[in-house]
Symmetry: C2
Subunit: 457 residues, 2 copies
């Protein structure tokens, strides 16, 4: 296979698509710390989670030993509508950079939700339907997850209630219309529809909202509605599991052409894409079969890995969800409204946090304007207009390719291009007009937030 | 091959992609009527066209006998960045409709321009660059063409000036930002930058613009700038030629799986997608090798084939471009501003007009609300949120599939899904809010417009 000419885009055959998701926890020596009940501070049981989450998803959330979970046939059929996603060889970018590095990106934007979020949305909707539920509630920040879930719910005939972070709701009215087209209801968060929303509005009048706050509202709403559960698009282990379809396809595609990655790069907010992309490769590394450098890229405005602490923290602003041990900026941290796009969650998935703590993964943070420069550069060269989130990975992939140019090393760089920026043109406009700023939290801000961490660490 | 399981999405290999465009005029007995010089009313010569158009494109425009034109390697390399486009088997739609028909659609929306327009944009930019030009000017209506041309010009390092129909400019600020991200300048039309724009503004103060008017402005601007030419995204034969990459890929994909289309359906504005999709199949029909039903679908608000006349007409409002013999509503016809999306040109490409005149193709018109109903239905079932233009074809494909359900016939229906609706959410919002109306021109309006046709027919 070594000498087979590598096409611009590698599309697997349907028959080569993964039939199982991979659970990296099964290969981890140091398992992530358990979720804690916010009232008793004891490890959460399946029973304790069942009022909020779907049963099958709870099993996936808590399972640390089963390496593979079968992808249900109904989910695989839906995957076939927009997957396999192409692994693209960035020939034009390589040429422009004059780098000896080979650059590949796994592109997850070729579906109407515009991102990888659909991979987990359809799985979660499937299990909700299987459980006989009427509907689900969720939060959305930049809007990709809400859109993905709307599509998934529409497919399985479930009702879908989305709490959308207010600043995104206002900046992205068209995201809302996509969700409505798929039949979802969309409420700006914080809202007066929930107790927790009212409380937050009282304490912070005029707030533009946060993911942590929207999560609290969605969880409360699910609890108040008969036949509803809460689902979410990142942070949780179940989501990481579903997203491994990204990494598994990437692995198969590379193998097919005799390629071996040296560096694997992903943008990191809650960790859904990063975890999904790197898990199968991390498995190889954990089992001693291969070595890779993994780089998580986060925004300088919300730097949970690079400037956070590894500690138990609340996963939502209202403090009604389980506590997670994770790299966190503190659940009271809210990134500046001037930060465009997603990647604005205060913490990082617990599996990724543990891997980072164990030195198995690196992390860097990048500033917003550098990210949009990379986005524009990439768009003009590779054609695709990336989501701001994805452009974090582009930034660092370009930086690594330029290092190879310096050293002459022919490394193979793989990064995750999570989605498209078609609903982020408000942010692009700011950049085009030279009005985009860089916000970086001060040490004092972070210390103030850390001081509010729960006293159990 | 007959029994090979047909996947949801058929992707050709790079090696199976077309290396030549197909010129259907070579197989037509009745050739389309020649372009006429607007001043002398004599057939346009290559020399007469050269101040406005690129040389190679003029050759392609006028050539009625050469069946195949080589696709330059540079263009094929760019095609590889976003092509081959998938031919998708609409399994979910078939299932939902409970039809015995097999439904396929060729999806051209998997690129940042969001439509098939990029196929011709990159070819035109290539020839402009090859001729040593500095830049090009153009018009855009719904915005797909302008976006595509911006991307193509950015790739080849050409300057790009876009005149955007004012009502689209205002309803679609984000389309403008995509073009700016690719380095284009965008001016709402009619503008005060050109003489023809000023004249139109004087005659019709407060007009929201039209394609015919934006064309006039772009042509004037190209003439005033050293090293610039005018390019356009539809109506012309050269565009039809480049777009045959759609039909050629579709033909190869169907053959690969032993499938034979019975009905081929495309939406029709100026004819770029429809012509590109059907040309290779029409060639088979003209040569007596196979038979197909071809259906052009146009908006009831701009029904050039179904309610227009076959006559010489001006191709632009300012009457500075060559005259074309075509099915036309008259160059003074401007569709209602309540009509969403594209497909708002007053005439139809001359090749398609001749084929329609000769009874080789059918045409139907559909109302806007029926189109958006089909769009929403399709989005929920097949996942993809279609452009309003594309949804015209969806509407009729569904109608034909339902006829098969009545009769029990197992027909194979192929339609062109030209693009995505991500920049059309303003129109979707209107539909979601139940505020979308249907506008159909009255006979009196059309007669008034026909009365202004040039007196040479």
């Amino acid at each position: 296979m070594e000498n087979k000419k590598i096409p611009y885009k590698i599309y697997l055959e349907e028959s080569e698509m993964p039939k199982e998701w991979y659970n990296v926890r099964a290969d981890m020596k140091n398992k992530p710390a358990p979720l804690l009940d916010p009232e008793t501070l004891q490890p959460m049981t399946a029973e304790g989670l069942s009022p909020v989450f779907c049963e099958e998803l709870i099993k996936q959330e808590l399972d640390e030993t089963t390496p593979y979970f079968e992808i249900p046939e109904e989910v695989r059929n839906f995957y076939k509508m927009y997957r396999p996603a192409p692994l693209i060889r960035a020939y034009c970018l390589e040429e422009k950079l004059q780098t000896p590095a080979k650059i590949y990106y796994k592109f997850e934007g070729n579906n109407t939700s515009g991102s990888h979020k659909l991979n987990s949305a359809i799985a979660q909707a499937y299990y909700a339907k299987k459980q006989g539920l009427k509907g689900v509630t969720t939060e959305t920040g930049a809007g990709q997850w809400g859109t993905a879930l709307s599509m998934a719910c529409s497919y399985f005939g479930l009702d879908c209630k989305v709490y959308m972070v207010k600043c995104s709701y206002e900046q992205k009215p068209f995201r809302r219309e996509v969700m409505r087209t798929y039949g979802a209801s969309v409420t700006p968060s914080p809202s007066t529809e929930t107790e927790v929303g009212k409380k937050i509005l009282l304490e912070h009048p005029g707030t533009t909202g946060s993911l942590g706050c929207a999560i609290s509202e969605a969880v409360e709403a699910a609890g108040n509605l008969e036949g509803y559960r809460y689902v979410l698009g990142s942070v949780m282990n179940q989501v990481l599991l579903h997203q491994t379809v990204i990494g598994l396809e990437t692995q198969t595609a590379l193998k097919k052409y005799g390629e071996k990655a040296d560096i694997i790069i992903g943008c990191a907010g809650g960790g859904s894409n990063l975890g999904g992309l790197i898990s199968p490769f991390m498995g190889e590394k954990l089992r001693g079969e291969a070595d890779y450098r993994f780089i998580a890229v986060e925004p300088a405005s919300c730097p949970s890995l690079t400037r956070g602490v590894y500690a138990y923290d609340y996963s939502d602003t209202g403090r009604i969800c389980p506590l997670e041990k994770m790299y966190t900026l503190g659940s009271s941290f809210i990134p500046s409204a001037s930060h465009a796009g997603g990647l604005r969650y205060h913490g990082m998935n617990s599996v990724l946090s543990q891997l980072y703590e164990d030195g198995l993964m690196e992390a860097v943070s990048v500033k917003q304007t550098e990210v949009f420069e990379a986005a524009q550069y990439f768009a003009r060269i590779e054609g695709i207009l990336p989501a701001p989130e994805s452009a974090h990975a582009i930034r660092v992939a370009i930086d690594e390719a330029l290092k190879c140019k310096e050293t002459g090393e022919e490394k193979t760089i793989v990064f995750g291009l999570t989605g498209t920026g078609y609903f982020d043109m408000y942010a692009y406009q700011k950049f085009n007009d030279g009005q985009m700023g860089d916000y970086v939290p001060t040490d004092e801000e972070l210390q103030a937030s850390f001081a509010k961490l729960p006293k159990i660490n």
